[in-house]
Chain length 393, copies 2
């Protein structure tokens, strides 16, 4: 049995490796998760929406639909993108996806030929890096600082990379760092990329989880040339297991996604799209999002407060305005993957940051999740983790 | 915006083109469908299953799950494959998919390098041909007769095609012809392919729709070398819109599917997999399948009877033992695509067969669907279509 060259390039997720290291250990406090808190799903409302949908739609909920997506849901999203997200668009710009991850897989198929270069932030979401890898993409990283992607570095990388084909970015509360780009960075970024024939994949699963500061425009809203393929998702604000997400891009790209999706999985399930729509039409999504924001804000602020109190001052941390993660930088020379053994022995898990880089060798960073831990766990976990770190610093 | 080479190879579906030609025309009798009859979905049972699932599982129905699939459903399928389908397997052999189409897309990604040859039956399912096209596959066809794939032709094609990489077949009630392979052909096929380093993708969406004759062993059941990637689906026996399907293959291939799926869409929706499992555990799938078989048998037999009565004797037709389609061969020289204009003017639609071939030029065939038409429509539609054909013969 001979696999394609593509398969030799697939890399196992570093996150899964950590999950194996903590599997079966009881009483662990885990900051290693990447999930929204299931206790915040609007379960009763989803049940009512399911009842009403099954009552009203009958067989339609179980039948084939269009590859592009369920019509009323496309209408809802078009309206929300225009009126809440500040992105002018029509249904021609939108195609439903089975989770944002499908948008990443499709972007890879649609744009990457052997040897093309994908530019990512340093660090970036490894699920994206892994999606691009099989098609022969090479990677270049651009540094980020507290305001987002560093424009001078981006300009340099673009100028010296004629095979740059696609730039993958997460401007809102990035996985793994939790950072959000400033307005100025967004504007300058679009100014710079507009000079090149590159596609920008703007991944925005966390944008609605802003619990501090003002909402800032999406790159897609600043996009004058139709370069940006925006990915939105209900995974973090409604339900990750329904896998309902969408792309908003130029009509040309939206059409290409639809054509490619037809050969890939024909369509996303009608049932999950329809249920999402019934929930949206019967209940107030924005009110539900505000409830999530309140809880995540508390947890994030408590984590930052505890870090200040218990971590050695040499450890840098981000102080996110939204999302699900914050990011630690230990002093150089320390190896967060090795320290994880001690942390796990003390009952604490986190994700070492190295696997979020497209290159190897950055060993002193850590991704911390604050959405899947209760206040008491944050208090106790950060205190214990502080003690572990103090042994090394 | 520059797309990858892959995208230039995507071909629009010929079936969609026909659907556009009949769109908006009222009172059409359509034999052009490719759907199971929604009136046969076990709607009340699915609703009860949904109620019970939401009651018992709560947030779990909306949460992330494993890429490989929902555990209890994997167990059910393992058991059914062993005890009803005659395929020895464990969970190591199985990975859930979002519809069989995802299995085709993944087979393409997993196995096809530029210039590899995919062998298909002549004709074959165009959704498969379209899934393999973007990755640079070339195609060779092997003829079929009433007993299935023609072994001598297969041997010849394999012997003269060193780059043969994958063989795509539908041994049960093939789309488009409705033919099923005999036992002897299945055994000889496996004997022949076992001499080559080729993967066999056995697509079996229609196997459970056998309404005449004996169930015959799957190729996967006759597979001694682990060459066969079997695709099963609930689309035609439960609900197409839930997109619940699975692959059963060697552990090596099942693992590769899982790894690739992680980068492609992370996982199939937990909700649809869980709902399928609740339906299966609360109700009798096999009894439900028997009800579908009775209805489709009646419709198929009526269509064959009407064809005998009303079509010119020069037109050949298949007499399927299951599935959703039968296949017409008009006398050579006739163009079923041109005749479709006359048929549509007379209120009848069908799918011209040309697009089911990986090469152009076979213009005298037609795919007829019998699952989406009621008895009265079959009687009237075939009579009218007979009159249309008589103008040409």
């Amino acid at each position: 049995m001979t696999f394609s060259v593509r398969m030799s390039r697939i890399k196992a997720s570093g996150i899964r490796a950590v999950q194996k290291r903590i599997a079966g250990k009881e009483g662990m406090i885990s900051f290693a998760a990447g999930l929204p808190d299931p206790e915040l799903y609007p379960l009763e409302d989803l049940r009512k929406a399911a009842d009403t949908m099954l009552e009203k739609e009958g067989a339609k909920a179980f039948a084939y639909g269009l590859t592009k997506g369920y019509g009323p849901l496309l209408d809802f999203l078009t309206d929300r993108m225009n009126n809440r997200e500040g992105v002018e668009c029509t249904k021609e710009n939108i195609c439903m996806l089975s989770g944002s991850q499908q948008g990443l897989g499709m972007a890879a198929m649609m744009f990457i030929d052997e040897g093309d270069v994908v530019i990512t932030e340093n660090p970036s979401y490894l699920g994206a890096i892994n999606a691009f890898r099989p098609y022969g993409a090479e990677f270049k990283g651009v540094d980020t600082d507290d305001d987002g992607i560093v424009i001078e570095d981006l300009e340099k990388v673009l100028a010296e990379t004629p095979k740059a084909k696609l730039i993958y970015v997460i401007p809102n509360f990035q996985n793994p760092t939790g950072k959000a780009w400033s307005l100025e960075r967004r504007e300058k970024f679009m100014e710079v990329v507009s000079k090149y024939d590159v596609v920008v994949v703007e991944d925005n699963p966390y944008g609605d989880l802003r619990f501090k500061g003002e909402q800032l425009p999406h790159l897609r809203a600043l996009d004058k040339k139709g370069q940006v393929m925006y990915l939105g998702s209900f995974s973090k604000i409604l339900s990750p297991g329904m896998r309902v997400a969408w792309a908003c891009a130029s009509p040309e790209v939206a059409k290409a996604i639809e054509e490619l999706k037809e050969t890939n999985d024909l369509q996303s399930p009608e049932l999950t799209q329809m249920l999402t729509y019934y929930y949206l039409s019967m209940f107030d999504l924005e009110e539900h999002i505000r409830e999530i924001q309140v809880v995540y804000k508390e947890r994030c602020e408590l984590m930052v407060e505890m870090i200040k109190e218990h971590f050695p001052p040499e450890i840098k941390y981000t102080d996110p305005e939204g999302g699900m993660f914050l990011w630690l930088e230990l002093p150089e020379g320390l190896d967060s993957d090795k320290i994880l053994d001690d942390a796990v022995a003390a009952g604490i898990a986190y994700i070492p940051g190295e696997s979020f880089f497209s290159f190897e060798g950055v060993t002193n960073t850590i991704r911390m999740n604050f959405t899947m831990v209760k206040d008491e766990q944050i208090r106790e976990g950060i205190r214990i983790l502080g003690d572990v770190f103090k042994k090394y610093i």
